[in-house]
Symmetry: C2
Subunit: 239 residues, 2 copies
DNA sequence: CGCTGACTGCGAACGGTGTACGCAGAAGGG
DNA sequence: CCCTTCTGCGTACACCGTTCGCAGTCAGCG
């Protein structure tokens, strides 16, 4: 019964490419992969599912992409291209740095799989968008007068990556539960309170955090830490 | 030939437990999993390989652990128990915070898989060691006089997690190459320089970073950022 | 026009994965 | 002694990433 999918390989069943179906291409593959990652996360992306979304056979993808890891690398760089950085020549380095960090965070939250991929493969990616991102930041911090711009950038980025990782891991967990963030928190609270157990300070912290709106809480948490880092960096400027 | 492993199920082939082989237990499973993760990383850990290391059948593990994800959760909490935190009642909050961050970083670097797992599952872990870790930090920052100890802790932890993630992703990549860190950098430089391409500032940055010892460079990079964060936090203390 | 060589798509297959299921022997308590 | 509960595990299923070799398509060239 191996012929069941294409019963009689006759002349009439010839493949006739739809002209608007622009055939497979590396770009199309990467774009569709990102859509799938955004919608269902890292684990849901398989070469077979991706291919069938593109009306292609699973192994056809390998004509355009060497390996799944390489595909991920391409997806990461593509997404880095989305980060809208402020112009680097403005007078106010601090506002620009704030914008850059917020733009980075926004992108990470828009693609929650990003941080987990970064956590596995990190910096050995040398994609053009990532390089351009790094360059623009270097220009910004150099122009601001930092004696060690690379260190300053690393500090800012590590804070942002850490917060982004933590946040998107949380949001992924929430999403998997199928509930809203507030519902999920409400459900988790009893367990958390119990786990906090004898830890008084921790239990207090949970209790005070219980009532607030989760989204604005996360936003303001990020902004608080960002100000802390920028304050610390400002002390390193000469004069 | 399905009987070849145990030809005749007779009385004489009875399983006779070695008394020093203390049978399967959740703790033993988690410990061995951590050993495997440390040695070969997340991808190399499979239930079958883990079981065979414990002289057990693959599916026997499921009597003690509901799922592979749960096993990871347990491994994460176990490793959090290793973090040696300073006493929280010392007079110098800043020294204590530095010690805590360094201890955290040391643990992350000792178990490079940790940050990538945290990046996938984050905080919904409520294990006892993780709770105790959080409690101790809360005590420390409360005693130091911070009006919002939780925010201060989050800032510090996010910086440390971000740096730890970045570092261990890098080290994992290096390890996979089978080379020393210095060798790997030497090999990567041409590609990096080429990828830097027209980006002048970036190329400069690479060039100046080329000659230094990678380990001390990473250590001092972490310390620099840590001081930045602590400076920023210190400004939030009353008085 | 016809040939040729490169390129693209793909079905089948391989060796792995996590885990559900149900059987078999061990252990402990009445 | 029997009966229940617990523990280990062989088998099986659905899925995964990837290799291989075949079959069409098409551009370039004589």
């Amino acid at each position: 019964m191996a012929v069941s999918t294409n019963p009689i390989p006759s002349v009439w069943a010839r493949r006739q490419r739809e002209p608007d179906q622009p055939s497979l291409s590396r770009d199309a593959i990467v774009r569709e992969a990102i859509v799938m990652l955004d919608a269902e996360g890292t684990e849901a992306l398989s070469m077979r599912k991706l291919a069938s979304r593109l009306n292609a056979g699973a192994t056809s993808l390998y004509r355009h992409v060497a390996t799944k890891d390489e595909l991920m690398e391409l997806a990461v760089d593509e997404v880095f291209g989305e980060i809208a950085l402020p112009p680097a020549d403005g007078p106010d380095w601090r506002a620009a740095a704030t914008d850059a960090a917020q733009a980075f965070r926004a992108t990470v939250l828009r693609h929650p799989w990003l941080s987990s991929v970064l956590g596995q493969a990190g910096l050995a990616y040398l994609g053009p968008n990532l390089m351009s991102f790094a360059e623009q930041l270097t220009v910004l911090f150099t122009a601001a007068g930092f004696p060690e711009p690379v260190r300053a950038i690393d500090t800012l980025l590590c804070y942002t990556i850490g917060m982004g990782t933590t946040e998107s891991a949380w949001l992924t967990t929430v999403a998997r539960s199928g509930q809203t963030e507030a519902e999920f928190i409400a459900r988790l609270m009893p367990a958390a309170q119990e786990a906090a157990g004898d830890f008084e300070h921790l239990a207090d912290a949970y209790a005070t955090a219980a009532g607030t709106d989760p989204v604005t809480t996360r936003d303001s948490k990020f902004s608080y830490g960002l100000e802390v880092v920028l304050d610390g960096l400002a002390l390193r400027l000469p004069r």
